[in-house]
């Protein structure tokens, strides 16, 4: 049958099971938008293309499916860049479709022409420039396949305007995609398993480091079975939270810069680290030269380039994590590590009584209170989307995640402005779940225009602004490392309640701890998107903290007593 390239875009998206596309129209993508009206895919009009990319990312992380963003050429395409880089760093499968000037105009510096395949080359898993209508379907099919297979990631397909409006023969080809140079299904050699098993059998102080790979591989059951049989305690990365239920007795909590003190100490004392689907990011290792000095290391990752990249390992196993654990577990005996686990319990000591319980409950509102209360009120079952900064770390510390894909956050790139649009995407990925955005007052303002998207698309999310009037994490670094010289971190904010109301949404404010429960309930019962302005302690810091590049167990701890700087009710 005859179809234009634009129609083929939607034919392919339909067959790939796409339910929703996040985008923003413009000149070079107009033929595709015109064709859209004849296809049953929902389109969400964003207020900025960066929002579209983050929405596709949030959708992908919430649903496990490929998210799709669409934009026009030039500025439309370049506005996607931050969102694409975010997805790349956190291995999130998205496909971005951009319009391009007509193929005859390429290279002429035409209106709204940007070399977007060149711009996005280092921040995509792969990208395509399509200049002929007959190439649209193969490029898009390959894009979806590459985005979701192996180590997932973003793929961009740039389609010239003439390729969109030209007609060609279209027959759907549902044979498996064949890319001769792309082999995502790498398998480890059998001897690697034997060496790994040998190290595990002989370890006395082993520790599992579980990361995002557990979630993306869908290996939660395998991890749980592995932990049950081997009785090896587990530390999680930020993106690994939820990979093992927070309530599991062997789940020690988060590692790294703002991880639990006993977790970081345990890593430094361990004699074996089993890194499952994590990549030894500098935020989890601290000083590499002194990292886990007593430990042998086994690293399981689907990406061979990650093995020995930051940390030299003794055994590297390349493959899908779930499949690897299924192969590894039968060759391991049931084990116990009582002395080691007891030792870690001792390390917890007083710090197991969480900081939050030491905070004065003088009516003052602390971010930790807000997040802890939110966790209790939602029964720990909400899908939380966080931005980047102090609130992100407090969420990771105080909201206990029992399920995978219940925390969506920008880990690798640390993209402020991620939360609100990502939550809009997550809303579509998981329509039944309660969605909460936890965001700082700084990051919220980066993409707050998407409030209009919430209104226009009539979607329900709850937005908790942890408002301390500062770019809090930067302020914290200035406090610790720059002699309290607060350069460009104090914020004069808009009235977030009025801002919500201006968008036709509900805005609420909380200034005292005893208001939290009631206002959160009010937000949950509101049928539309609600913004809550939580006026929290202004100069609170995230503890413990490993300074960047310091030894992992050299942590700054919370001072006692706490100095309060906010005037409550101001």
């Amino acid at each position: 049958m005859k179809r234009t390239g634009a129609q083929i875009v939607w034919e392919v998206l339909t067959r790939e099971g796409v339910e929703v596309v996040f985008g923003y129209p413009g000149g070079a993508i107009l033929p595709t938008y015109d064709a859209m009206l004849d296809y049953p895919i929902r389109h969400v009009l964003t207020r900025h293309e960066q929002g579209a990319a983050h929405m596709a990312d949030g959708y992908a992380r919430a649903s496990g499916k490929v998210g799709v963003a669409m934009a026009t050429s030039g500025p439309g395409a370049t506005n996607l860049v931050t969102g694409i880089a975010t997805a790349m760093m956190d291995s999130s499968p998205i496909v971005c479709i951009t319009g391009q000037v007509a193929s005859s105009a390429i290279g002429s510096d035409a209106f709204q022409e940007t070399d977007v395949t060149g711009v996005t080359l280092p921040i995509t898993k792969h990208n395509y420039l399509v200049t002929r209508a007959e190439d649209v379907a193969p490029a898009l099919r390959e894009a979806f396949y590459i985005a979701r297979s192996g180590r997932p990631g973003p793929v961009l397909v740039d389609i010239t305007k003439d390729a969109q409006y030209t007609e060609t023969d279209f027959e759907w080809d549902d044979s498996p995609v064949r890319l001769p140079g792309y082999r995502p299904d790498l398998r480890a050699l059998p001897e690697e398993f034997e060496r790994a098993a040998e190290l595990i059998r002989s370890a006395e102080r082993p520790l599992i480091l579980a990361g995002h790979g557990v979630v993306m591989s869908g290996a939660m059951q395998e991890l749980l079975a592995f932990v049950q049989k081997t009785q090896i305690p587990v530390a999680l990365t930020l993106l690994g939270l939820g990979a093992l239920p927070a309530s599991h007795p062997l789940n020690l909590g988060m590692m790294g810069m703002h991880g639990e003190a006993w977790v970081n100490t345990a890593i430094q004392e361990a004699d074996l680290l089993l890194a499952f689907g994590m990549r030894f990011d500098d935020r989890v290792t601290g000083n590499l030269a002194t990292y886990a000095p007593k430990a042998r290391k086994i690293h399981v990752d689907i990406d061979p380039t990650e093995i020995n990249k930051n940390v030299k390992v003794d055994v590297g196993i390349v493959g899908d994590l779930g499949a690897t654990l299924r192969q590894l577990l039968p060759v391991l005996p049931a084990m116990e590590h009582k002395p080691w686990i007891n030792h870690i319990e001792e390390l917890k000591g007083d710090s197991a009584v969480r900081d939050i319980q030491n905070m004065p409950d003088s009516g003052h509102l602390y971010a930790a209170h807000v997040i802890h209360d939110l966790w209790r009120i939602t029964g720990g079952e909400a899908l939380i989307v966080t931005d980047v900064g102090q609130h992100q770390m407090w969420e990771a510390q105080y909201y206990r995640h029992e399920q995978p894909r219940t925390l969506i956050t920008s880990g690798g790139l640390g993209t402020m402005g991620f939360a609100l649009p990502a939550a809009v995407g997550a809303r579509f990925g998981r329509p039944q779940d309660e969605v909460w955005v936890i965001v700082g007052d700084g990051g919220f303002q980066m993409t707050q225009a998407e409030l209009a998207t919430c209104r226009q698309e009539d979607i329900k999310i709850n937005i908790a602004i942890i408002n301390n009037g500062y770019l809090g994490m930067v302020r914290q670094w200035q406090e610790f490392f720059y002699g309290r010289r607060y350069a460009a971190t104090p914020l004069v904010n808009p009235d977030f309640v009025k801002l919500a109301e201006a968008h036709g949404l509900t805005g609420l404010r909380v200034e005292r701890r005893d208001q939290v429960q009631e206002v959160v309930q009010q937000a949950r019962e509101d049928p539309g998107t609600v913004v809550i302005d939580f006026r929290v302690e202004k100069e609170d810091s995230v503890y413990p903290m490993v300074p960047a590049g310091a030894d992992l167990d050299a942590m700054i701890r919370r001072p006692n007593p706490i100095v309060e700087t906010a005037q409550s009710g101001d």
Partner: protein
């Protein structure tokens, strides 16, 4: 002892990779961008056709240690358009560079220049009253040697192709193997004694 982290104490040495890539627009850019992004310094990069339509062959020389060389190989494989990569650094191979050297040679010095070329088995491919163009093929060492002795005559211009490499013997890598095992050759865990 457990393995140590951080920068490898091993010295960087030139590693030679042979890569078969799809002959598509932008592939050279993808390869070059990979080296730039990961801060691997390219000493030399050559591209040319193979006897199979649609497949090009690259020879890439980069100054890295052995572990980094493994990650260079793995990173090249991650590029969708790269079909096959071989690190031939430690495989017996023929390695060749080609140089064209325009050297000053007047009636007085021409005989001497020709004599030097003869010793190096370089060919004279152009003769003008004031200059010769000399073609030499060989290892980088050999070319450097010739340059050294020609320099006193006055080198006017030079162009070099960079290294091309081919392993010795009947073995040839297929363009497109069905499966490349995910080998991590640098694992040398000494297992604890039982």
């Amino acid at each position: 002892m457990p393995s140590s982290n951080g920068s490898s104490p091993e010295r960087p040495v030139p590693h030679t990779f042979v890569a078969y890539v799809e002959d598509k627009p932008g592939v050279l850019n993808r390869v070059a961008s990979l080296f730039r992004r990961r801060a691997y310094n390219i000493e030399s990069l050559t591209v040319g056709h193979t006897d199979q339509p649609g497949v090009s062959r690259m020879t890439i020389v980069t100054n890295v240690d052995r572990e980094t060389a493994r990650r260079v190989e793995a990173n090249l494989y991650k590029l969708v358009n790269v079909l096959r990569v071989e690190n031939v650094t430690e495989t017996p191979s023929v390695m060749r560079d080609l140089a064209l050297i325009k050297v000053r040679a007047d009636a007085e010095s021409r005989a001497q220049v020709l004599q030097v070329c003869d010793v190096f088995r370089a060919r004279v491919v152009d003769v003008a009253p004031e200059a010769l163009v000399v073609e030499i093929t060989g290892t980088e060492d050999k070319i450097e040697g010739l340059l050294e002795v020609l320099r006193p005559f006055g080198i006017l211009e030079m162009v070099r192709t960079g290294r091309v490499a081919m392993t010795r013997g009947a073995h040839t890598p297929t363009f497109n193997p069905e499966f490349v095992p995910a080998r991590i050759p640098e694992n040398h865990a000494t297992l604890p004694q039982a």
